[in-house]
């Protein structure tokens, strides 16, 4: 019990006093995870729409891979990405192992199936005739894609939340490909693991609370957007 109270007190102290290290870790977490989710949206949304609308050979296989990917353990993703970016790996020449880029790639891989999967499910729920109606109004393929994404903007925010929630809280992949280097790849989750290892439960607690607050705030903002536009 003492640990919890100490942790809460400590975290507010650290936040209010403007501890540079804590703020840097928080900011880095937000930047890396935000970038990864943004990238996964750019690719995952069109891919999800395309999967929902088109029938092609091997579609079931792709959907199965996607569904498995939605629940892939971050450690496994971290391992796969590590193999690729390892010095002698396929992408070794990029020399991005233990850099923030490596974390972005790993988190992108974690978030992509979530975003694509949610998008696909959302678009599939639409009346198939809506697509015909949009075509009949005179839309090109690209215009139709955009109109369908706009039409499902509320449930699609859930995809954003799921993607962000998954990557901000994962630790295995970031640890493996980033290495928890202070100032470069140390994010909230890897720092928490390290502090626990060192026995500094107070600081670990503080970092965890910040992590929770961060996840909560982002979700709160997204939920507010979602609910507000529902009422319009």
């Amino acid at each position: 019990m003492d640990l919890i109270i100490e942790g809460i007190v400590r975290s507010f102290e650290l936040l209010i006093s403007g501890n540079a290290e804590v703020w840097r870790i928080t900011f880095l977490s937000l930047t890396l995870s935000g970038t990864a989710v943004l990238l996964s949206l750019c690719i995952g949304m069109p891919a999800g729409v395309a999967l929902a609308l088109n029938q092609f050979w091997g579609r079931r296989f792709v959907v199965s891979v996607l569904n498995t990917g939605m629940g892939a353990p971050p450690v496994v993703v971290g391992l796969l990405v590590s193999i690729f970016i390892w010095r002698r790996g396929l992408l070794g020449f990029l020399e991005i192992a233990y850099t923030p880029y490596a974390i972005i790639i790993a988190q992108f891989v974690i978030s992509l199936p979530l975003v694509a999967g949610f998008t696909m499910a959302t678009i599939q729920q639409l009346d198939p005739k809506l697509r015909l109606q949009i075509q009949a109004l005179g839309a090109s393929r690209a215009q139709m894609l955009w109109l369908l994404i706009k039409e499902t903007r509320l449930p699609l925010l859930a995809a954003v939340m799921a993607g962000f929630g998954a990557v901000i809280s994962e630790v295995g992949a970031s640890m493996m490909v980033g290495g928890n280097i202070p100032g470069q790849t140390r994010v909230l989750t890897t720092a928490t693991v390290m502090e626990v290892g060192k026995g500094d439960f107070g600081l670990a607690m503080a970092l965890s609370i910040i992590l929770m607050l961060l996840a909560f705030t982002v979700n709160l903002i997204l939920t507010m957007i979602q609910q507000q536009s529902r009422l319009k």
Partner: protein, 373 residues
């Protein structure tokens, strides 16, 4: 991209038809859902596609509206064969489609009505003018700022139709536009559409399973059954001279009696049905077996033998009385079965009940005769 590049231009002869389909088939796996030898959509006229549910009417509409590529066959727009590809979009922009369900997007009514015009590159002031006019015309102008999701079924269908008309299409496709709305709305909307179609004279393809809609709105009717056109003609042809028993039943000739022609003179034949003789206008030769069709609403009932011009009067026993809305269906046994449709008021005035004996009368011109092959 100009239209000429989308179409393979053939001769310079102007086709009398805006749209024409030849040898259209659609297969879903091994199942053939459409097999149309030929169909023509005439300029400025309303063509109704009627048929039971699942007969392929909507599939044909989708093919003609270039929203579905037929498995085989060709479609001609103003005499030019359509080559399928991305550019069919340019042609689709000359059509408009309103489906049975309103299919409005999750935005304001105004945005819904203007979207198609924007996609087609209509200029701003013109968009405003047309959207205002058609929203007003369909009586939903006051809803312009509301979200389309908050509308009632009838309102949504009015917005849907305003959206289609505002596109000022070369060909308008209406897929069961009245099927999903409640009865009072349907009646009001039906009246509006009838006036608007007469006024605008827009070339229209109307899909419906309601024979009354086809009868009042269409210049030509194509009856579709099991994916094929089984009869095509003026509404008068279709509804008074159906080509076979299935069509006759579909267009509302519920009484079907089989008989033998006993004599024939001056186009009036005497036909024996279960030892009773029915007179009908037909040119069938004596000795032939025929089917006789009579609409239930063409039969009048009375308690005493009527003295009017009806040549066919039979005494019959009422076997059942079933109210259907404002009308009542009365089943009679006159030596053959007969169904009559009379108003509820007439039923009350005659004080009809099962077991009672009445006289059923119908004119010789009210029966339709088809030779049984």
């Amino acid at each position: 991209m100009s239209q000429g590049q989308v179409l393979s231009s053939q001769s310079g002869v102007q086709s009398p038809f805006v749209l024409e389909g030849r040898g259209l088939t659609v297969r879903h796996g091994n199942r053939q859902v459409l097999n149309i030898q030929s169909i023509q959509v005439t300029s400025d006229k309303v063509l109704a596609l009627i048929g039971p549910n699942g007969s392929g009417k909507t599939t044909l509409l989708l093919c003609l509206a270039l929203l579905q590529k037929p498995t085989t066959g060709e479609i001609f727009f103003k005499g030019n064969r359509i080559k399928y590809g991305q550019l069919t979009m340019e042609l689709r922009r000359q059509f408009a489609v309103a489906f049975q369900e309103p299919l409005l997007l999750n935005t304001t009514v105004w945005n819904n009505v203007t979207l198609g015009m924007k996609l087609r590159g209509v200029k701003g002031p013109e968009i405003k003018k047309r959207a205002s006019y058609w929203l007003e015309r369909f009586g939903v102008a006051l809803l312009a700022r509301q979200n389309a999701r908050t509308l009632s079924g009838g309102e949504a269908q009015r917005v849907n139709l305003a959206r289609a008309f505002a596109l000022q299409p070369e060909v308008l496709f209406l897929d069961e536009p009245f099927a999903a709305v409640d009865t009072p709305t349907r009646q009001a909307l039906f009246g509006d559409i009838m006036n608007i179609l007469q006024e605008t004279q827009v070339t229209t393809v109307l899909v419906t399973h309601d024979r009354n809609e086809a009868q009042s709105l269409a210049h030509r009717v194509a009856v579709i059954m099991n994916g094929s056109i089984v009869q095509m003609g003026s509404p008068r042809d279709i509804f008074s001279s159906p080509a076979n028993e299935v069509i006759a039943r579909f267009v509302g000739m519920e009484n079907v009696l089989e008989g033998t022609v006993v004599s024939s003179q001056d186009c009036i034949a005497e036909i024996s049905v279960n030892d009773q003789v029915i007179q009908g206008v037909t040119t069938c030769n004596p000795g032939g077996t025929v089917n006789i069709f009579i609409r239930p609403e063409d039969i009048t009932l009375s308690l005493t033998k009527p003295f009017n011009s009806a040549r066919n009067v039979f005494q019959g026993l009422i076997t059942s009385i079933i109210p259907t809305g404002p009308l009542v269906r009365i089943s009679l046994d006159c030596g053959f079965k007969l169904i009559a449709l009379i108003t509820r008021m007439s039923c009350d005035e005659l004080n009809l009940s099962p077991g009672k004996v009445v006289y059923a009368a119908f004119k010789s011109a009210a029966i339709h005769v088809i030779t049984v092959k």
